[in-house]
């Protein structure tokens, strides 16, 4: 503890403020007033601010702050602890939280109208509970606390997805979601209980103490269980099926938090277990993580490219980015397995930076999608278009988000991917065995592929959604959204830009985290704003200078032109479409845009199409063509539905036991008695 470390009372401030909101908004739920609209969101923003403050204080300081709560039962203590890792994730939670809270003011007005306060109050209340529970997950320092907060987080988000329950689709999504996450929690419970079996206590502190003493194969079991449990929440393929259903179903500012933050909480858990409770991860663990990560990354972004619903596109791209993060974790695991602490530190650094960045730009994009829905009344790319004139602010922030998520300099998305490549390279150079060579090479190629595909994906999303002519009446009459929503988006856009231009700030904050996890850290040099890689080998990236350079060099040709033949003239005419008039129908559609990729990767994503042509009587008339294209839901069909059918059919068979015949029942008793008697004799 040094003077920078946050005092006890302020650590609890965010949770306290969040937890205040449900009561508050339910109190206001009957009244129609400005207060009822603003107050809850203001309190939430206050809480988020407090969260950022606490996180910064902790990360700039050293050591950690711990509280012993009360004991639920004599064995189960609720204790909290704020250490660097928790603090970093507190930051990850708080930044999008602030934006979402602000955004929510206008968004809820738009979606529920100001006339009926009850549903909006419910939404605010749930948002408060959601944020509080997420914060508690990262602060919890005992199994019971962690699991309570974890389950609350899932339940609250479940209710947010289901909403008022009138939409059957939302109900179904919510059900799939909560069941998968609940079963996942079961695996987590087992993992924690195995740890508890060895440490003799349910407290994380005890886990840390006895971390070394667990036999190898039990460590493996723990890791696998943790992967199942947290992987379900992270949406790793094939545990992802709930994600593209649930995230879009929720209100957009909630989607932003679910996709941007909640999935990260699972990463937090994975890191805790993998680097604190079971040190010395086995080699296969790293390889497994890298493999799973690559699969999720590539398939995720491919599925995103096949989607028409803007929010589903974003949801699938979340699967992709969680995949990238998992690759990062895998690299770190491989490095720590080979005992290269610095490489592990670099990989963790990269992973966490990317994690933060993703939470920012994914949040931004979801807010943008919500704004589009509010302004244009649809999320279907095939019905959007031309928003750049109608919704300039939304367009601007969505463009920034798109560039960030496509990993383009100088935005923050690129920093993370750059660091991950660097860590891959250091892994390759330091721990070279042929097996690892293949892993590293595949990882590098796969990540490059992912980056390029996500560029394609967001050229499509932005280009089709926002540029050219509107493709539907609703979109034609689209209007810009209110100030609070713009403010929410602007905040995240600004953060994305700032994190892109000054990545060193984040890296500096992450020093204590890696120090705590792998015992060493990578000190980024501040020379020329460059980010040096682990071995200080001068492979570097200086965002600010790149921007200046771009500006400086970009003007040269234009200057030349100016000098050579004065200022140019410009004439505005209709687009040339071979003599006709340009109609929205002529424009390249989202489906058409994805066609080449659909064809190139058809082996991976198994698309299907059906074309039905109605030939009219007269040959002069154009035949009517019904065209339908999509992607087979492989996992649903071959994994989950099969499981469900098995369970239900077996259940139906067993049901026959309860035949209604009393003699059968008596026979059960009789036989049971005889069997036990024979056994015990």
């Amino acid at each position: 503890m040094n003077d920078l470390d946050p005092p006890a009372w302020i650590v609890l401030a965010p949770v306290a403020l969040y937890a205040l909101v449900p009561g508050l908004s339910l109190l206001l739920s009957r009244r129609i007033s400005r207060v009822a609209q603003f107050l809850p969101s203001l309190v939430l923003m206050l809480g988020a601010g407090a969260g950022v403050l606490v996180a910064l204080l902790e990360l700039l300081g050293t050591g950690s702050t711990a509280f012993t709560g009360w004991a639920v039962t004599p064995q189960l203590d609720l204790s909290l602890r704020l250490d660097p890792l928790a603090a970093f994730f507190l930051l990850v939670i708080s930044v999008p939280a602030a934006a979402a809270a602000c955004y929510g003011i206008g968004y809820l007005n738009a979606s529920h109208g100001t006339s009926q306060p009850a549903p909006r109050a419910a939404a605010d209340a749930l948002l408060g509970a959601f944020l509080a529970s997420m914060t508690l997950v990262v602060l919890a320092d005992s199994v019971i606390g962690f699991l309570i907060a974890w389950e609350l987080m899932s339940l609250v988000s479940f209710f947010l997805v289901v909403g008022d329950g009138r939409r059957a689709e939302a109900r179904r999504s919510g059900y799939v979601y909560v069941v998968m996450t609940h079963i996942g929690t079961g695996f987590l419970l087992l993992a924690f209980l195995i740890l508890a079996r060895h440490s003799g206590s349910f407290d994380f502190s005890a886990f840390r103490a006895t971390a070394g003493s667990i036999p190898a194969w039990e460590q493996w079991v723990i890791l696998l269980l943790a992967l199942l449990g947290f992987g379900a929440k992270m949406g790793l393929i094939p545990l992802h099926v709930w994600l593209p259903r649930a995230h879009p179903a929720a209100p957009s500012h909630i989607s932003a938090l679910m996709s941007g933050v909640m999935v990260k909480i699972a990463v937090y858990g994975l890191i805790r277990i993998c680097w604190e409770f079971t040190p010395r991860p086995p080699l296969w663990w790293g390889v497994l993580l890298v493999g799973l990560g690559l699969t999720s990354a590539v398939l995720g972004i491919l599925y995103a490219l096949m989607e028409r619903d803007l929010k589903r596109v974003l949801a699938y791209s979340t699967v992709e980015h969680l995949g990238i993060i998992t690759v990062g974790l895998g690299v770190a695991a491989l490095a720590s397995n080979r005992g290269h602490a610095t490489v592990a530190a670099l990989a963790l650094l990269a992973t966490l930076v990317h994690l933060l960045n993703h939470s920012v730009f994914k949040g931004l994009l979801f807010l943008g999608a919500g704004a589009v829905q509010t302004g244009a009344g649809t999320r279907d790319l095939e019905r959007l278009g031309g928003l750049i004139r109608r919704m300039p602010w939304t367009t601007g922030s969505f463009l920034i988000g798109s560039m960030a998520i496509a990993a383009l300099p100088p935005l923050n998305g690129f920093v993370g991917e750059w660091l991950i490549f660097q860590s891959l390279l250091s892994l390759g150079t330091t721990v070279g065995t042929p097996m690892l060579a293949v892993v590293v090479a595949l990882a590098a190629g796969g990540l490059a592929l992912t980056a390029a595909l996500s560029l394609a994906c967001f050229v499509r999303a932005f280009g089709v959604g926002f540029l050219a002519q509107p493709r539907s009446e609703a979109t034609h009459n689209a209007h810009e959204v209110g100030y609070s929503m713009r403010a929410g988006m602007a905040l995240l856009a600004a953060v994305a830009l700032a994190l892109g231009l000054f990545p060193l700030a984040v890296l500096r904050l992450l020093q204590p985290v890696t120090l705590a996890l792998v015992g060493t850290t990578v000190r980024p040099s501040f020379g020329g704003g460059a980010v040096l890689d682990a071995a200080q080998r001068d492979g570097s990236y200086a965002p600010l200078l790149v921007v200046i350079g771009l500006a400086a060099i970009g003007v040269i040709p234009w200057l030349a032109a100016r000098i050579l033949n004065g200022r140019g003239h410009e004439r505005v005419v209709p687009t040339w479409v071979c003599g006709g008039l340009l109609e929205p129908r002529m424009q390249y559609s989202a489906t058409a845009f994805a066609q080449p990729i659909r064809l190139i990767f058809r082996q991976l994503i198994r698309p299907h199409r059906s074309v039905a042509i109605e030939r009219p009587v007269s040959t002069l008339l154009v035949p009517v063509v019904h065209f339908e294209e999509g992607v087979h839901p492989i996992y649903e069909r071959y994994l989950y539905q099969r499981a469900v059918t098995v369970i239900t059919s077996v259940s139906h068979r067993i049901r026959i036991l309860q035949s209604g015949s009393i003699r059968a029942y008596l026979a059960y008793i009789f036989v049971t008695l005889l069997i036990i008697l024979v056994i015990t004799r």
Binding site: P409, T429, G432, L453, I556, R571
Partner: protein, 309 residues
């Protein structure tokens, strides 16, 4: 020292790029038993375009107007990073090989958006194909750089400059890079820079709505991109005659300059030869070729391990 390189390399590349394009065109013409327009034709074209007024679609938004500027800036900056005369990137510490790739991506992103912005379906088609094929080119390019970077353990372009004769890994990488170069410069058998036939065009499709000064600049930038790629090949795999990093010796620099020019021209002629030697691939056969590039890149990385360890 870097400052001088910097100051030299900008005009160098800007002025040399059209010439290289002219040489390639002439070479192609000769292969086809034509006289060709002469090596200076690209200069004339660019000057002509820079003078013309630009005709802009009424659909076009500021994205369309800004795209050429950002495209050009990104390409030029990328070109600036490549070690040409000396074994040293003119902008060390600012950006490395990965940024080099990312800058190409940045350029591509904006040009593709511009293609969609006017609502013309040719533009859309162009950007759609561009991003799709780029998805295959980028992994290959990155794997190549990875293969080269592994032994030095750094992604700095200065560090990547090759030493001595290429080994097995380098050969694979070089092969891959040639394919990448063909794809990125939009040449046969992948794309055809001289066609405006909508079924085949990729790069040209996105430029279709541009005219006048923006078109001129875009073409210029594209030529610079071509030069940058070829110079990178030269620097990575044919490092002979390059002046030592940070050397101020005029003699060395002169040698380096001549060596660079020579290598780039030879590579250009090679491209021309390939272009005349092959027929354009059907658009959806292209992925196989690009896939080959990725495989070669992969091999390069693996081979590197076998070589090193």
């Amino acid at each position: 020292m870097d400052a001088i390189l910097l100051v030299v390399q900008v005009p160098l590349i800007l002025l040399f790029a059209p010439l290289l394009q002219g040489l390639i065109k002439t070479a192609k013409a000769r292969w086809q038993n034509r006289r060709g327009p002469g090596v200076l034709q690209p200069y004339r074209d660019i000057l002509k375009w820079l003078g013309r007024e630009s005709v802009v679609s009424e659909q076009a938004s500021w994205v369309f107007r800004w795209a050429p500027a950002i495209y050009t800036a990104a390409i030029l900056f990328a070109a600036l990073l490549v070690p040409t005369v000396a074994r040293r990137s003119p902008a060390p510490g600012i950006a490395d090989a990965i940024v080099f790739v990312a800058l190409f991506a940045l350029a591509r992103f904006w040009l593709a958006l511009a293609g969609l912005d006017t609502g013309s379906n040719f533009g859309g088609m162009g950007s759609s194909r561009e991003v799709a094929f780029a998805a295959l080119v980028e992994p290959a390019l990155l794997l190549i750089l990875f293969a080269v970077a592994l032994p030095v353990g750094s992604t700095s372009l200065s560090a990547l400059v090759g030493h001595g004769w290429p080994n097995a890994s380098d050969v694979c990488a070089l092969g891959a890079f040639l394919i990448v170069a063909i794809a990125e410069t939009g040449r046969i058998p992948i794309d055809n820079p001289d066609t405006h036939l909508e079924v085949t065009m990729i790069h040209e499709g996105m430029l279709l709505e541009y005219s006048g000064r923006p078109l001129g600049v875009l073409h210029w930038a594209t030529q610079v991109k071509q030069l940058a790629l070829l110079s990178l090949i030269a620097a990575l795999f044919l490092p002979w005659g390059m002046a030592p990093g940070g050397s101020a010796n005029p003699g060395q620099l002169l040698v380096g300059l001549l060596a660079w020019g020579g290598k780039v021209v030879i590579l250009g002629l090679l491209l021309a030869t390939i272009e005349t030697g092959y027929a354009k691939l059907r658009i959806f056969r292209v992925p196989d070729l690009l896939g080959l590039a990725s495989v070669l890149g992969l091999l390069a990385v693996v081979a590197r391990f076998v070589v090193v360890h």
